[in-house]
């Protein structure tokens, strides 16, 4: 098994600074959804990770901890994530994306 980045929606949505994706080396990997966190009363959405593209470098953890000072991202073993975003379940919109979360590990 291997580590991928996992963003805590409630912690991110409280700030949602959009810094981490500007520093993730991988394209189309940390995305934003205006919808995430709405059910918990957050207005501006949250970042999330397309875990099939994440290479586990933890650069985003450093950015969120040290630049955003928000500590919303942790590295988690991929089979410990009950649900996660995968590229095939992501829909792009005009200014935001949406993702249907599913189990990231097959079988």
């Amino acid at each position: 098994m291997y580590l991928v980045a996992d963003i805590n929606v409630e912690i991110c949505a409280a700030k949602n600074c959009k810094l981490c994706t500007q520093y993730c080396p991988e394209a189309n990997t940390i995305l934003y959804s205006d919808e995430l966190g709405k059910d918990k009363g957050f207005k501006y959405g949250s970042a999330y990770v397309a875990v099939d593209r994440c290479k586990g470098c933890a650069q985003c953890v450093w950015v969120c901890d040290n630049m955003a000072k928000n500590h919303a991202i942790k590295m988690v073993m991929i089979d410990q994530l009950p649900q996660a975003a995968l590229t095939e379940n992501i829909t792009y919109g005009e200014k935001s994306t949406t993702a249907v979360l599913t189990s990231p590990v097959v079988g």
């Binding site: 991988e26 934003y32 593209r53 470098c57 933890a58 650069q59 953890v61 950015v63 792009y92 935001s96």
Partner: protein, 300 residues
């Protein structure tokens, strides 16, 4: 080479992979996208085999967002790590033999001008420090002396990364690498000064820990190369493998190197300033350039 080349032929849309459909419908073609919108549009760069956490990968990702007209851009590269990602984007990529890239780009940029006239077609070379400053130096310098109008970007990881750690002309003096076990005996080459002497109209150094600056210098370099003359960007893009930088410390390293030997530098001729100001509405050169530009008319 135009927006049309990515579009679906009638009836074929449903057979295309999701990533491709996303790229056509929600990619950057024909729109202006910026670094601050990252994460909400589909980027043209696809998956590739560059190492986890590589700063060069991040720089390439930012560069592709910064291209002023990605649908009218061709990238040229060569042997080295960067081509592994640059070739995996929805931007045509030409692979020059190791060191040939600026010769290939010279012919390509001239050919495109003959074929397309005034319609801008941007040629951008991205190659490693070995490819640019060592093996390709002759062609790089001659493309500058000859005022070939395209952009050269050096992905400077201060080592031959792709072949396991030989020193390059851009390695720092004293650096010990796997295949330079006694430490490098010579100074890091000053390619920025060479670029100015050889006639580049725009020269800048950047580090990827400042994404907006990367975006800004690449835009300027590509626009200047459309009409005024050659442009050169030298980017520090660390190799976390050969320099054993833990991947979550890559940005700390970039900051330290920025403070040490990669402070932001920008050089631009008066002619290029005037062009960016008048043609593309840049305001940043107005106050500073007014006096000297007026005193040396026509000087570039």
């Amino acid at each position: 080479m135009s927006l049309d080349y990515v579009k679906f032929s009638n009836g074929f849309e449903k057979f295309m992979p999701k990533e491709y459909r996303d790229m056509v419908e929600h990619g950057p073609f024909g729109k202006k996208v910026t670094v601050s919108q990252m994460g909400s549009f589909k980027e043209v760069l696809e998956e590739h085999p560059m190492c986890a956490g590589c700063a060069m990968t991040l720089f390439i990702r930012l560069a592709m967002i910064a291209f002023p007209n990605p649908e009218d851009t061709i990238t040229v590269g060569t042997a080295g790590c960067g081509r592994l990602a640059i070739s995996q984007a929805a931007i045509p990529f030409v692979y020059g033999n190791y060191g040939d890239q600026n010769g290939v780009a010279s012919g390509l940029s001239r050919g495109l001008r003959l074929r397309f006239g005034d319609k801008p077609k941007d040629v951008v070379v991205m190659a490693g420090d070995g490819g640019t400053a060592d093996i390709g130096l002759q062609q790089v310098l001659h493309s500058w002396f000859r005022k070939e109008r395209f952009t050269t970007i050096m992905l400077d990881n201060e080592v031959y990364g792709n072949t396991g750690g030989q020193e390059s002309g851009m390695t720092n003096r004293g650096a010990v690498l796997k295949m330079a076990p006694l430490g490098k005996k010579f100074e890091k080459m000053n390619m920025v000064e060479l670029a100015k002497v050889a006639g580049c109209a725009y020269v800048a150094t950047v580090v990827p820990n400042n994404p907006r600056r990367v975006e800004s210098v690449i835009k300027k370099a590509v626009l200047v190369a459309r009409e005024i003359g050659p442009s050169y960007i030298q980017a520090y893009t660390s190799c976390n493998i050969e320099y054993a930088i833990p991947t979550d410390k890559v940005m700390e390293d970039a900051k330290a190197v920025e403070n040490d030997r990669y402070q932001f530098q920008e050089y631009i001729t008066d002619e290029a300033k005037q062009y960016l100001t008048e043609r593309y509405g840049y305001k940043e050169f107005l106050a500073k350039s007014a006096a000297p530009a007026a005193s040396i008319p026509g000087k570039g």
